[in-house]
Symmetry: C2
Subunit: 326 residues, 2 copies
Amino acid sequence: MVKMKDVAELAGVSSAAVSRYLNGGYISADKAERIKQAIELTGYVRSSQARALRTGSTKLIGVIVPKINSESVSRITAGIGQVLGRRGYQMLLANTDNAADRELEYLDLFQNHPVDGIVLVATMVTDEHRAAIASCRVPIVLIGQHVEGAACVYHDDYEAAFELGHALAGRVDGKIAYIGVTEEDRAAGYDRRRGFEAGLRAAGNPLDAALIRRGSFTLDSGYSAARELLSVAPDVSFIACATDTMAAGALRAIDEVRGMGEGIHRVSGFGDNAFLRALTGGIPTVHYGYLTSGVEATSMLLDTLDGVEGERGLKTLKLGHQLMNV
Amino acid sequence: MVKMKDVAELAGVSSAAVSRYLNGGYISADKAERIKQAIELTGYVRSSQARALRTGSTKLIGVIVPKINSESVSRITAGIGQVLGRRGYQMLLANTDNAADRELEYLDLFQNHPVDGIVLVATMVTDEHRAAIASCRVPIVLIGQHVEGAACVYHDDYEAAFELGHALAGRVDGKIAYIGVTEEDRAAGYDRRRGFEAGLRAAGNPLDAALIRRGSFTLDSGYSAARELLSVAPDVSFIACATDTMAAGALRAIDEVRGMGEGIHRVSGFGDNAFLRALTGGIPTVHYGYLTSGVEATSMLLDTLDGVEGERGLKTLKLGHQLMNV
DNA sequence: TATCATTGTGTAAGCGATTTCAATGACAGG
DNA sequence: CCTGTCATTGAAATCGCTTACACAATGATA
């Protein structure tokens, strides 16, 4: 492995000069030229490990996600990756498989070492999370949840759910049911349910508390909850779900119980999943700019790290949403 | 930041002793105890950067994927992450967005530095790829393609496609069309098409070359190709696709042209996408153990890196498949 | 008793970069 | 001619850890 010293010797300069050449310090034109050639000749590339040890910066960003195989998360990740790549950083990905404790574990692992900053795609935010975030040694940005005192990029789930509920109330005749997710997930659980309920209520068609179920983000959980709903309350004519994935499950349940194709006009979701859109022609749902949230969060983080002038700094950013097919 | 020397002083030993304690070298019981307490007291954690510089190993594995937001890739990634986490490694993720040149770029970037090994989720494998792989400084494992002379974990796409074609030939009456992908993707392009054709032929119902189209992995491309097929050859009664995603597009096209619900029994795919399965009740498709391939590839790689005895070594591993809904 | 593994320990030499520091030469102003 | 800037330069000191080496003990073996 050719190192800086070799390049320096070949170019007839000190290794300090080579370092300066590489980092844009004082260097005369002719030496710069000689160094440039020596580098090309030797194929030298500098050791990021040595550099990291000396400078304390690894150009690595830790990204913690709850589950890699979900459309929303992978879109967010795509956005994060875009910005990172463009700005010379790399992504250290940690998949927690929906286990909140592994999230904390990674938060620890990351700040204890190699990363310059962290992007946390958050679901549940416990007090422990808040504490860990507050005491984090490196800058951190949250995506998906609004946490006081932390930098976050999120969507207004309450408002979106309100609008959806309000719009649906007028178009659905018959009983509406709701399949939510754990309220520990403030955004997808609490906010969406509350917003939806408020929207229905405002439209004069309040949600019957007996028709609320809880799934676990998966398609199967949406299916089970819907089956149960349909057997307990056969007069339910519409099932709103907290995620498109669960809506797909509910849709299947309705199809099974009431005949193929029936479900399509009787469920709604959140997230505007591409598959669902194509296969159903589009159920009522909320479109969020997931890729954008990845991009924005990461830009914010890197601006802080790189000390970009006129930087946006670590702050809170609420992104818009869009009702689909209502 | 408390460093090893601080711990050593507090424990009244040399830093070499602390290092030995941490790495399992010779150390007496009482010193070990003192060191343990000193570490707890100070909250010391060792600098992975210094360690990396000294040992030359980063405990980082580079993972190159063509596209993060696809079910197959994210399942593979989940498998990779599982093994990595369990064995004390971390994942450096590079998303190439389906650009083969960025793949080479990352291959370069990675081996030039911080990673101990590479997992490449391959699509197109050009000669440049082969060269880059062969000259790779760190161990590398490919997933999804079979490349001579490189370690790979892959599926037998030809055989699977053959079986699918053979099975479908008997069940479909009327003309069968095929929507493939670029043949530069040997597995998903070339092998699947050839296998499918051979399967149909073997069943005495050969594929009409005029009914072959090419998509680009996306849902929309499947949709367009199917629309075009249906208008050019209205008597086509079944459209086989090289991926479930394109099948979803084709399904939508058929629904539009022939009425909702019609498509479901008239398309087939590859990959056994969960959404598609739920929403259609299951089209003929091939199930691959994507998660398993991530697990196997990574285990193989880490075994080599860690010098596990009885190691499996870097070799070639062909995983099985399963026909679904035929 | 002499000899030799075996264990335990500290000293010090790196790993390969960045960066401080002092030194140099050139050049403008007084 | 002297002095003060200013751009350039290399020597050398880190960054925090691992490990080769030398050297002690200690117990086992001949």
